[in-house]
């Protein structure tokens, strides 16, 4: 009986958590590729900003980053809604970690592949897109899977900038009902379930990527 009343608000929060995780993981992948590729560029104008971004966001705390986006930015006139600040903070953070994955996988491609591409006179850009990335992408997928779960867990921090995610709803509900144990247990289980689903989804995606990379035309 108790659970039946507690569950709907928690599920509403879980939905927000899922949306934020999905959005920030996708946006984070974009940052990851841009910075990971940028870090390997021959041009300083691309390499240095990429290195700076990666170092700053991997070197500081996510919560500090979220607070900075949410509390500090409005002072210089840039006001982000909790949702934008949350998604932006999460994706910038996870993107910096993802960038190292992208860079590592690209660097791990065999040297002979670059040399063959050069001998066939591909431009550096063609070499990246046609030769190196298709080979590196499948190697990136397992660490990307870990990062996606990491991102799901990290998303709990957006509750601290007043975003009504699962953790926020749990805290709220706890304050109202004082049903601490069932609420927090259900919350942990919901996160666990979402992590399992996310892991399974990333495995599926990995298989798809491996298939596409090996048999694309």
């Amino acid at each position: 009986m108790m659970f039946a009343q507690l569950l709907p608000p928690l599920l509403r929060g879980a939905e927000i958590t899922a949306q934020i995780t999905l959005a920030s993981t996708l946006l984070g992948a974009l940052f990851a590729f841009a910075a990971g590729i940028g870090k390997l560029s021959r041009h300083r104008a691309l390499r240095w900003p990429a290195v700076g971004y990666i170092e700053v966001f991997r070197g500081t705390s996510l919560l500090v980053q979220l607070f900075w986006l949410f509390f500090a930015l409005p002072i210089i006139g840039i006001s982000l809604s909790p949702l934008s600040a949350g998604i932006l903070g999460l994706s910038l953070n996870i993107g910096a970690y993802g960038a190292e994955v992208v860079r590592g996988a690209l660097q791990a491609t065999a040297r002979g592949q670059r040399e063959a591409a050069r001998a066939l006179n591909f431009t550096p850009r063609q070499t990246l897109w046609r030769i190196l990335l298709p080979q590196a992408l499948p190697e990136m997928m397992p660490p990307f899977g870990n990062l996606a779960v990491q991102n799901l867990k990290d998303s709990a921090l957006v509750s601290l900038i007043t975003l009504a995610d699962l953790t926020y709803q749990a805290q709220n509900l706890r304050n109202i009902t004082l049903q601490t144990v069932p609420i927090l247990t259900a919350t942990l289980l919901l996160y666990f379930a979402m992590a399992l689903v996310l892991t399974a989804a990333m495995r599926w995606l990995e298989r798809r990527v491996r298939y596409a990379a090996g048999h694309e035309r």
Binding site: R174, T185, A195
Partner: protein
């Protein structure tokens, strides 16, 4: 005013300078929580790894589940759980200890995987050789396996020290006055968030860079092969 210090709002630089002592006070708490949480993670992680590798499935499987559960749920929610649920069972810990306990618990799941991977990476032939020499399981572990696993384990454990530093601000959610919480408090009272929050970011950057550099130095001094244990 905070911790007996006053802030100076005449300029950004004066403000920054005046709140630095407060932030450094918070930094001390950050470092304390990190060290304590890390030590807990190293110890608990070893315990979890040993249970996970226990010959009996009755022990190994539930341990595997616990590790997975700790790894897959947010530190913040685990922290809330400990902070709000433990007192219901009569365990009243100061917020700081609850916080380090949460850090230690979450990270023990990670370190246990490091220990396990390190031990599993010791070639099978070593176990077989130990068996052929009729060594007891205890001797096999102590004299053969662990010394060879250590060089693989230590660098990975080091990385988690850096991660744990970055996770300490989460403790502010249960009123632990670490660096971020101090900065937030300054911001709440002066309505100037940019300076304190940026300073906290820089201090964290310094802290993680220093730690990472120290770890890399240490790593280079580590033997690449087995470490003999006395």
């Amino acid at each position: 005013m905070l911790f007996g210090y006053h802030w100076n709002l005449t300029s950004d630089w004066a403000f920054a300078l005046s709140i630095l002592p407060m932030l450094l006070k918070g930094l001390v708490v950050t470092v304390e929580a990190t060290v304590l949480g890390y030590l807990l993670a190293l110890t608990l992680g070893l315990l979890l790894a040993l249970l996970r590798m226990a010959p009996s499935r009755l022990v190994a499987w539930p341990t595997a589940f616990i590790i997975e559960f700790l790894r897959d749920t947010p530190l913040l929610v685990q922290l809330y759980f400990l902070y709000f649920v433990l007192p219901l069972y009569g365990i009243n810990l100061p917020a700081f200890l609850t916080g380090t306990l949460a850090l230690g618990l979450q990270y023990s799941a990670y370190t246990s995987e490091v220990y396990r991977a390190g031990i599993k990476a010791v070639p099978k032939g070593q176990w077989e050789a130990a068996l052929a020499l009729d060594l007891t399981p205890l001797r096999t572990y102590r004299d053969i396996i662990v010394p060879q696993a250590i060089p693989r384990i230590l660098p990975a454990l080091g990385n988690y020290l850096v991660s744990i530093i970055k996770d300490t601000p989460i403790l502010s959610a249960v009123t632990v006055l670490e660096m971020l919480d101090v900065a937030k408090m300054v911001g709440d009272r002066t309505f100037r968030y940019m300076v304190p929050l940026t300073m906290v970011g820089v201090l964290f950057l310094l802290l993680t860079l220093l730690t990472a550099t120290a770890l890399r130095r240490l790593e280079r001094r580590l033997p690449q092969r087995g470490i003999p244990l006395r």
